[in-house]
């Protein structure tokens, strides 16, 4: 049970505690019975609201502060806002306070628009916002997207925007290469780049970006390896290594006969990954055989 320690075991023999527990049960049981009976009888008066509030531990705001991840409570708040029982400004203030307490509360993010991008929730929000900003065909339907119709193909992020995003995420890598969130975001950017390849865009420009990203991964790896033997098995090695393998796979996809891109040793990279990250050996084995296609233009 979340937040309830196993040890020390609860003391069930203390008579005072037992009595207090019994009284709490009686009170809760009486309150519940009263409230539910009145609801069933259709008695919606001030008194029942007060009783229900006691049941909810005083007021809805307190309820959220005690249980910030309750789906039902969040839904109830949205209902209150829609009926102007509480103001939108009050709502925004509450959400800000809750997000300060827990940045990863996706209920809060769903309620909020913000610019503090420092974690996975924020990178996720970025992918939604970027799509909206760069959508060239706002009238593309879900049907068209699912069928990969020509209309849907227009929904690509322009190369200049992608370059900006690669620049931003590089800063995150150099701050902490072991932080997985920006690497997952980076995979999405590569998927967006793939869309340009499929659309027959400037292959040379795409290849240039890929070479640049490969160099970045190699630079990061060099830095990390010089940090010492402990680094060998850490996530700060894993992510640039996996990304390097993905980049090589992608370069292979766009290479022309006569090109000699540095695409050798992908299988060696996946073997290395099995050593660094043995939990995911099954995935890396499939990936090295080409049966784990994660470089896709994810239809998110």
């Amino acid at each position: 049970m979340h937040g309830r320690p196993r040890y020390p075991r609860p003391n069930t023999s203390d008579p005072q505690k037992a009595q207090a527990a019994e009284q709490r049960v009686q009170l809760y049981s009486r309150l519940t019975t009263t409230v539910l009976k009145r609801l069933q009888a259709g008695q919606y008066d001030k008194e029942i609201l007060e009783l229900a509030a006691r049941l909810l531990e005083q007021n809805p705001e307190r309820a959220l502060e005690k249980h910030p991840k309750s789906y039902a409570t969040w839904h109830h708040r949205r209902w209150l806002v829609s009926r102007h029982v509480t103001s939108l400004q009050q709502e925004v203030d509450l959400v800000n306070r809750l997000l300060e307490a827990d940045e990863r509360n996706f209920h809060g993010w769903a309620s909020k628009i913000d610019r503090n991008f420092s974690n996975y929730s924020a990178w996720h929000l970025k992918t939604r916002l970027l799509k909206k900003v760069h959508q060239q065909s706002p009238t593309v339907t879900l049907d068209e997207l699912l069928k990969q119709s020509p209309a849907a193909q227009q929904r690509q992020m322009p190369l200049w925007a992608l370059r900006e995003e690669f620049g931003l995420v590089k800063q995150a890598f150099y701050t902490d290469p072991g932080d997985q969130s920006p690497w997952l975001y980076h995979r999405w950017l590569l998927g967006c780049l793939l869309a340009h390849v499929k659309a027959g865009s400037d292959t040379k420009a795409v290849a240039e970006i890929l070479e640049q990203e490969m160099q970045m991964c190699k630079d990061i790896l060099e830095l990390e390896y010089t940090a010492g033997p402990e680094a060998e098995l850490s996530s700060s090695i894993k992510w640039p290594t996996l990304t390097l393998a993905q980049l090589k796979d992608l370069l292979l996809t766009i290479s022309q006969p006569g090109d000699s891109p540095d695409i050798a040793h992908t299988s060696a990279l996946y073997q290395r990954l099995q050593d660094i990250d043995p939990l995911r050996t099954g995935f890396y084995q499939d990936a090295s055989q080409g049966s784990a296609k994660i470089l896709v233009q994810s239809a998110g």
């Binding site: 049970m1 979340h2 937040g3 309830r4 320690p5 196993r6 040890y7 075991r9 527990a21 709490r24 049960v25 809760y28 049981s29 519940t32 539910l36 789906y71 039902a72 839904h75 209902w79 990863r104 996706f106 993010w109 769903a110 974690n119 996975y120 929730s121 996720h124 929000l125 992918t127 939604r128 879900l142 049907d143 699912l146 932080d179 997985q180 969130s181 997952l184 975001y185 995979r187 999405w188 998927g191 043995p278 939990l279 995911r280 050996t281 099954g282 995935f283 499939d286 049966s291 784990a292 296609k293 994660i294 896709v296 994810s298 239809a299 998110g300």
Partner: protein, 328 residues
């Protein structure tokens, strides 16, 4: 907390202890927790009973009393509440049907009434609200589609639109959130994958990408987390594993490491399994830990179906012989 090499008394699944834990929980009807959990007791009963079934102790429970209580929880509108005093909701309607399926008592209910309740909650965009108060969540799509599958009335809802709505909740990482735009979460991933499987629409997701995101939920403890940078928790042994199982990529995690994590979360004295090794056990995590072990083929457990979240034996009895199996 790292899992020690020597698990001692926890090295094996303590099925007798867990069965006793669940039975004791079911019979503790005068403590505060009993009252405080009344509004979702139907789900608690489903978790407990299915766990008992997987470990071969279903007959320890009082079938007649439970079935009678479940039937008393159905309301005028056809839906079931968390208990007889609580309002209908899709979550508890599903749990009720799952309990009745375990006991092969689905024939006792008025199928049309339940189906009409479920179908009535579908919105024009294909989504489902949980009840008349309008909360929308992809979990409810799974509940609705599974209710229909259990009663073999799949045509009663628009599963094409339902699948489209699920697809609109896909994110950049291949995962799914509660509503369009919401962050991927393993629980939502399970319900969305389950819903797409039921709607015969698994082609609407990026299989490899999603399964990679799922296998990245495994932390160095061997346990699985719900989303990046969060702590592992035994319940994700179900949410992630069932999705991986449906999509045929169970081998992308270390089953050995996960098994050891689940076993380490057992309470060898009081019985039950907890979310983390240092926490108190509860029925919810006991069920999901056992269910995860079952999916991985742990010896001595009945096999659980990853889409229906019921024993395979029970699911086989539901479907007419001519229909194809849903889960791989």
């Amino acid at each position: 907390m790292a899992v020690p090499k020597d698990l001692g008394l926890r090295a094996e699944l303590l099925t007798a202890k867990h069965a006793a834990f669940i039975k004791n929980f079911a019979e503790s009807t005068s403590n505060f927790e009993y009252f405080a959990t009344e509004h979702f007791r139907m789900s608690g009963v489903y978790w407990g009973l299915t766990a008992m079934c997987l470990v071969g102790h279903l007959e320890d429970m009082d079938e007649d009393e439970i079935v009678s209580w479940v039937l008393q929880s159905q309301h005028e509108n056809g839906g079931f509440g968390g208990s007889p005093r609580h309002d209908s909701h899709l979550l508890y309607t599903l749990s009720a049907l799952q309990i009745l399926a375990l006991y092969e008592k689905l024939h006792l209910i008025d199928t049309e009434k339940v189906i009409s309740y479920v179908a009535g909650l579908q919105q024009p965009d294909g989504s489902f609200s949980g009840d008349e108060w309008g909360e929308i969540d992809t979990r409810f799509t799974y509940c609705a589609l599974l209710c229909c599958a259990l009663l073999q009335r799949q045509e009663a809802v628009d599963s094409v639109q339902a699948a489209r709505y699920i697809a609109s909740c896909r994110n950049f990482d291949g995962g799914f959130g509660a509503r369009p735009g919401m962050e991927s979460h393993s629980g939502q991933v399970f319900t969305c994958v389950g819903a797409l499987a039921l709607a015969d629409s698994l082609h609407l997701l990026d299989r490899d990408l999603l399964c990679w995101w799922l296998c990245e939920r495994q932390t160095e403890t061997g346990g699985l987390n719900g989303r990046p940078e969060k702590r592992e928790d035994v319940c994700y042994s179900w949410w992630c594993l069932s999705a991986l199982s449906i999509l045929g990529r169970l081998h992308w995690i270390s089953q050995d490491a996960l098994t050891r994590y689940i076993l380490f979360c057992q309470d060898e004295e009081e019985g039950g399994i907890s979310d983390h090794p240092e926490d108190m056990a509860d029925v919810f995590h006991t069920f999901f830990g056992i269910a995860g072990l079952s999916l991985m083929g742990y010896p001595g457990l009945e096999r659980i179906d990853p889409t229906f979240a019921l024993p395979v034996r029970v699911v086989r009895k539901l479907r007419p012989a001519k229909s194809a199996p849903i889960s791989t």
